[in-house]
């Protein structure tokens, strides 16, 4: 078994080529794929998160680290049995019906994936029915909704209601975010939490699920 430090360093630096080499080396020297994921890749992303919140890293650097992690995951994926990878939790994410903006939502999705969540991104203009259908299909832990416009915020309420109607509201946590969204609004519509930005989305998701 080899030391995972060089892999961690390469992920933090966002050096895709080096990280892939280090991941392969770690595998060759007998580390399990799950260990490389947990103690290597996710540990690296945790450190990236810490550095980012201290203002030592910028968003593109953090995203590059996330991309580096994803590239390494491609090497590991075949070694996991299907459904075998333990993640922090399953998340279904989308921009709500009527809203076509996706930059913020994509950023949240990337950050959460980097933090070890398994993300299913439904894209933009996602109807309540589509959220419900996906929730029934993959049984996620969290439904995350984004809206940039004041005029599309009501779709968040409609989606929350639709999840209730379908009888699955109790099985998922709902988190919402986007420029016009407030904590108060989250409470009003019965969402479980509001995250003001991508970094706090990760923290809040962990809190919701009681994982670290």
């Amino acid at each position: 078994m080899s030391d995972l430090k060089p892999l961690i360093e390469a992920v933090i630096k966002g050096d895709i080529k080096l990280a892939a080499e280090e991941a392969r080396r770690a595998l060759d020297s007998g580390n399990s794929a799950q260990d490389i994921l947990d103690k290597g890749l996710i540990a690296a992303m945790d450190e990236v998160g810490v550095r980012f919140s201290k203002g030592l890293l910028f968003v593109p650097q953090m995203l590059r680290s996330a991309k580096t992690m994803q590239e390494c995951m491609k090497l590991l994926e075949s070694l996991f049995q299907e459904g075998d990878i333990t993640t922090k939790g399953k998340v279904v994410i989308g921009t709500v019906k009527g809203d076509l903006h996706d930059i913020g939502k994509n950023l949240v999705s990337m950050m959460m994936e980097g933090a070890g969540f398994s993300m299913t991104d439904l894209g933009v203009d996602v109807s309540p029915e589509r959220f419900v259908q996906k929730v029934q299909e993959i049984e996620p832990d969290i439904v995350a909704m984004s809206a940039l416009l004041s005029t599309t915020m009501p779709s968040m309420r409609m989606t929350t209601e639709a999840l209730k109607q379908a009888g699955v509201r109790g099985k998922v946590k709902i988190m919402i975010g986007g420029a016009p969204v407030t904590d108060k609004y989250a409470k009003e519509i019965g969402a479980d939490c509001y995250a003001p930005d991508a970094g706090s989305a990760v923290t809040k998701a962990k809190e919701l699920l009681g994982v670290s």
Binding site: V59, P60, L149, T151, A179
Partner: protein, 482 residues
């Protein structure tokens, strides 16, 4: 020899040379011809393909340069906005700059408590009244989406509220075809009919495509509506560097311009000769917070570049921003960032300059910020007017009188000073130059406190010329769905 009147240089900023202008323009055309864009409005898509756009796949089109040339050729080079009583108010041509407020803020700073809270409809009324009472603020926008109005009617209600509280021109937002037609009905009520509104428009529609290169159905509905009715419109996509657009400013400008050209082409196909205000919003996405910055130097630089592109190539009046900040309270940062964009937007002769009075990257509006900006605009105008050089201003006679006069001769006593000081000097109202002791005696106030007092004074004292009862009744009927 007597000095004669000489032309006055009015300082003007240039940030691009001709080669840069042409390269950015060429890149914009290349984006449209090679990359293409997504047109999600069936009618607009049909107009574009009929005119010569090629379908790449589904609703993805490419657009040939000649359509851009034709649209630039048919759009008016001069747009005049009137006030709500039919007087010419904003002649958008040459070097004319007009400042106004912004829209869609979620929060506002409470005038009484200073606390940030959700916007309510009364705030929209207050901002409109304040704008009406400020000399250097030329047009009103809502400054907020009120929480006490049904969200599907939000833009109709804020428009009606502005109409009741100011007679200045209004830049408005709508969501789609339905609410824009109600806003249009209200506007027709105000001026007495469709023809009157077409001849003397007091409103301008602000709408955004989605960067990169996406044109949603509801946005196109509004664009086509405005083109057909002759309502001036701007369609600045949010091609923010690092967000909707590449992080490098040249690429972000090229993308934003390309997006604007699509809007312009559709607009001119739908209403040839209708007024279209050019220009994307090219700010930056902050690389730490991922907010779109309202205080960054980049936005000032890109709109100065856009003004150069207007002068060199496009000839259409442009849309711009200024007087806003990323600061959360009206502090030194708010002052610095406001002034930076106000003076540069004036020096580069941007035409319609919005967002005056925003804090927190456009998320919070502040009456005090608008009051401060009014003074900063006056200060910038003074600077931009330049130095008039003629016999009177060279003042050789006054110099001779004072220097050659007896003991006790001072310029302050000379008639020349009395006659000229009001024009010769910038006389601040809010920026404090008092001596220390009198400043202390007057309460040792800072600029925020003085702007707060001034906002309260204007709201208490300024009388907005009321609209006839008939008009108000008509508006209320429209609001009630009659």
């Amino acid at each position: 020899m007597k000095p004669k009147e000489v032309p006055t240089l009015q300082p003007r900023l240039r940030v691009l040379n001709r080669e840069q202008v042409l390269a950015i323009h060429a890149a914009a055309l290349e984006i449209l011809e090679k990359v293409g864009f997504k047109m999600e409005h069936a009618g607009a898509l049909e107009m574009l393909t009929d005119a010569g756009c090629r379908v790449v796949e589904g609703d993805r089109l490419t657009l040939p340069a000649h359509l851009v040339e034709a649209a630039l050729g048919s759009a008016p080079k001069q747009i005049v906005l009137y006030d709500q009583r039919g007087n010419e108010a904003m002649s958008l041509e040459d070097g004319n700059c007009f400042y106004g407020t912004g829209s869609d803020a979620t929060f506002t700073l409470d005038l009484e408590t200073g606390q940030r809270r959700r916007v309510v409809l009364q705030d929209v009324a207050n901002f409109a009244r304040l704008v009406d009472g400020l000399k250097n603020i030329a047009f009103a926008m809502s400054m907020g989406n009120p929480e006490n109005v049904p969200v599907e009617d939000i833009y109709v209600h804020v428009f009606a509220e502005m109409v009741e509280n100011t007679n200045k021109p209004i830049v408005f937002i709508a969501d789609r075809g339905r609410d824009i037609s109600e806003i249009y009905q209200i506007a027709c009520q105000v001026v007495g009919g469709e023809e009157e509104l077409r001849n003397r428009p007091f409103l301008l529609s602000y709408s955004e495509a989605i960067s990169p290169l996406r044109f949603p159905e509801n946005i196109m509905e509004k664009l086509i509506f405005c083109a057909q009715k002759g309502i001036p419109i701007c369609l600045p996509s949010g091609s923010n560097a690092g967000g909707g657009a590449p992080v490098t400013l040249a690429g972000a400008l090229a993308l934003g311009i390309a997006e604007n050209m699509v809007g312009l082409v559709v607009h001119q196909l739908a209403g040839r000769g209708s007024p279209f205000l050019f220009g994307p919003n090219v700010s930056t996405l902050d690389m730490k917070s991922t907010v779109v910055s309202y205080g960054c130097p980049e936005w000032s630089l890109t709109q100065a570049a856009l003004a150069d592109m207007r002068d060199e190539l496009y000839g259409l009046p442009i849309w711009a921003y200024a007087g806003a900040s990323d600061a959360k309270i009206m502090d030194a940062q708010a002052g610095v960032e406001s002034m930076f964009s106000i003076i540069t937007s004036m020096l580069s002769r941007c035409n319609v300059i919005h967002d005056v009075g925003f804090l927190e990257y456009g998320n919070t509006s502040s009456l005090e910020m608008v009051v401060m900006a009014d003074e900063l605009i006056a200060m910038s105008r003074f600077f931009t007017e330049g130095i008039q050089v003629n016999q009177e201003t060279l003042a050789l006679e006054a110099i001779a009188r004072v220097a050659g006069g007896g003991p006790g001769s001072i310029f302050l006593m000379d008639d020349h000073t009395f006659e000229h000081f009001m024009q010769a000097q910038f006389l601040p109202l809010l920026l404090d130059r008092s001596r220390y002791d009198s400043w202390k005696e007057a309460g040792a106030t800072n600029l925020y406190q003085r702007c707060n007092s001034e906002a309260r004074r204007i709201l208490a004292e300024h009388r907005v010329e009321p609209k006839p009862d008939e008009i108000i009744k008509g508006i209320n009927r429209i609001l009630k769905g009659g």
